[in-house]
């Protein structure tokens, strides 16, 4: 990270929301309905607490190295070799998340909007502008994200709320008929939907103007994201019911296909939702690709991020095209989810323990 680059906690909140809230809205309801049925909204709520825990661990760890990014302090903690290995793990995780999100995104666009356009064309057109956006570092990325976020999310919120017009409240019952176990089992599936903040904080902490405010702004970001996911889960469940939700490939779009406001200019909601959603996903992609490139930049101590973005994008496009079908995407998605959980709930706490132990030892010496 360029040491002169400074961002405010509010900008951190904006980045976190934009990077986190992307394609998961399409598939999260299906995964959760399979596990938790009518109570699928509960793991969404509980998942937010788990990510908050991981965020606090990550924040505490970053606060121990206020002048370093996570790429640097991984090396300080584990030595050059161990730190590099950990950075490669982090980079692989971020690149896979990017590729997976992008694949789900373009698959949905292909099914519902551009059925004749080849997948690679849609993917390329969505990723190539990122080279331009990322060429001058974090600030232009941030400006673009800030520019998109307000109009896109306001319209998106207005549209998703219209979904309540078709909700059937009986679809929310019975409550906890199978006990709490299915709800708890559903929590891990929400990880990828919330993942982002725990990765960003280590990377951005040294650039934040008021680090003490991060707890508040991080919590606000998680609450906003959880609120949006909760709304979408409740509306999808309320429109389709648990059994339908679990059988439909992209239940969120199908739910909004059921919302029609006849004799108005709106008529059907799904088309509008898709258009706004493209802006939201593009916003998320910029963030993921930029931060993946920035990790490489720091790992190899390269001066500019632009050539790395240019080199990374063909790799991401290749990874996007790799899964042959939706079953493969689902399998890959489960693996990446697991890798994310390992990072957020195992590696980060271990790193924090190690950092605290090292600090204590240094103090004693």
């Amino acid at each position: 990270m360029n040491p002169s680059t400074r961002i405010t906690p509010l900008q951190f909140l904006v980045l976190t929301i934009s990077i986190t809230f992307g394609t998961s809205i399409l598939t999260l309801p299906r995964k959760l309905a399979k596990i938790a049925g009518e109570n699928m909204w509960m793991p969404v709520l509980l998942g937010a607490f788990v990510i908050y825990f991981s965020f606090r661990i990550s924040l505490q760890l970053a606060a121990l190295f206020p002048n370093y990014t996570s790429v640097a302090y991984h090396r300080l903690l584990l030595g050059n070799f161990g730190g590099t290995l950990l950075n490669i793990y982090l980079l692989t995780l971020m690149v896979l998340v990017t590729a997976l999100f992008l694949r789900l995104f373009v698959t949905a666009i292909k099914i519902y909007l551009l059925d004749l356009t080849p997948l690679i064309v849609v993917t390329s057109l969505l990723t190539l502008p990122v080279i331009y956006a990322a060429q001058y570092g974090l600030i232009p990325v941030l400006r673009l994200v800030q520019f998109i976020i307000l109009p896109a999310y306001s319209l998106f919120l207005a549209l998703i709320l219209l979904g309540f017009l078709s909700v059937k409240t009986t679809n929310y019952q019975p409550v906890l008929a199978e006990g709490i176990k299915p709800v708890l089992l559903g929590i891990p599936s929400t990880w990828m939907s919330y993942s982002g903040i725990e990765l960003l904080i280590g990377f951005l902490y040294s650039s934040i103007t008021r680090p003490k405010a991060l707890v508040k702004f991080g919590l606000a970001a998680i609450v906003i994201i959880a609120g949006l996911y909760l709304l979408i889960s409740l509306i999808t469940l309320g429109i389709l019911g648990a059994k339908n939700t679990m059988h439909i490939l992209v239940p969120t779009i199908m739910a909004y296909r059921s919302v029609e406001i006849p004799d108005t200019f709106v008529e059907r909601l799904d088309g509008y939702l898709m258009v706004i959603w493209i802006a939201i996903c593009f916003d998320a992609q910029i963030g993921w690709i930029y931060f993946s490139s920035a990790i490489i930049k720091q790992m190899f101590d390269v001066e500019y991020v632009r050539p790395i973005v240019a080199l990374l994008i063909p790799i991401i496009i290749y990874l996007v095209m790799l899964p042959p079908n939706i079953q493969a995407i689902d399998k890959l998605s489960s693996l990446v989810n697991l890798a994310g959980i390992v990072w957020g709930l195992i590696i980060l706490p271990l790193l924090l323990i190690l950092a605290l132990w090292k600090r204590k030892r240094n103090d004693e010496c």
């Binding site: 099914i111 519902y112 909007l113 551009l114 059925d115 004749l116 356009t117 080849p118 064309v121 057109l125 009986t170 019952q173 019975p174 008929a177 199978e178 389709l240 019911g241 059994k243 339908n244 059988h247 199908m254 296909r257 059921s258 029609e260 059907r268």
Partner: protein
Amino acid sequence: MLKNFAGILLLVLTLFITGCWDRREIENRGYVLGVGIDHVESTEPKGQYDLDKAAQAAGRRKYKITFELPKFRKQEASKELSSGQSHLIWSAEGESLFAATRAVSAKVYFAPFFEDIQIIVFSEQVGKEGIRDILDFFQRDAEMRRRVKLLVTPGRAEEVLSAKLQVEEVNSMFIAKTMNSVSKYPHFSSETELGQVASFLRNHQSFTLPLVVVENKEVRLTKAAVFNNQGKMIGKLNELEVMGGKILRKNLQKGIVTVPNPANPSKLAVFEILEHSIKVDSLLVDNQINFVVKAVFIGTIAENMEPKQSAIDSSFLKKLEQELVDYISAIIRSGYRKQQLLHADVSELNSLVYRQHPHYWKQIKDRWDEEIFPTVPLEVDIKVNIARPVLMD
């Protein structure tokens, strides 16, 4: 210089890459507004070239699928030809509906496009054989509307679409719009949408579809075709049984109830339901389930055909309210009894049991329609409140 050139090149590129692959001219689209599905009348080739037959590597010549498309005319021509048909009818035959749909593309240059589809009509014959397999095509197609309305006709579905009606509107549009009258005339089934029906089939839930009949240049929506949890049509509910079923399902909007006038039984009194409060509960006692329906109907006297009788006389109103209570209770009971006889819980009472007694439901869910539901007693407690008995003028 190079930067400027690259910038201009990128701008020019955007002109060529915006949706090229998905470009379809509006005049090359066949806007399907209605689909009719019948069994073929004969499997023998029709005519020298047998134009309707779909190419299928496997499968029989089983269904005839008919599409109704709007007929677009130039504005000047439409003034002159205002009495002409406003629709085009195309059809093909095969077992696979998708193959048959593609076969239509060999007859017309505008490929069938389903984003604006309004209705799908099945013949009763097709309904009796089952619609579960047929609906797969409609659920799978990404163009299809989830809210497209499904109907059953006692005759041939193609005739519903091709009939010449009094109105100069595409039949499918006209029928779809007429279905909105269900709020005023609740005597035909209102559970009709593809998304709903797909959900019923997935949940092994019985359901009803409205019947549509065409006669003397008129179309009418009536009654309900009852489908069991396998998606096979097994009977019909008459118009009053439909209303009773709707009360049990709590999806009655408005309606009228006609009863003998208490002041003179040879004349009529008509009650218009303006609002209501319906509560349906399932009670589980000693592992035995029973249903209780409690409802209050508030409305007005829409017609009092005994002019000598003052409509604000309280004893008359009391008698009329009692008459209405008896009558509405009878409608509910007859609708419920018919469903029990058909072993088809179309009022979704099974969902009520699942929500209120999930553990009991687990034990009996596989035996519900055939064994349990036909024996469950129903308790009816109705109240009627004539809130506006006076004449307006």
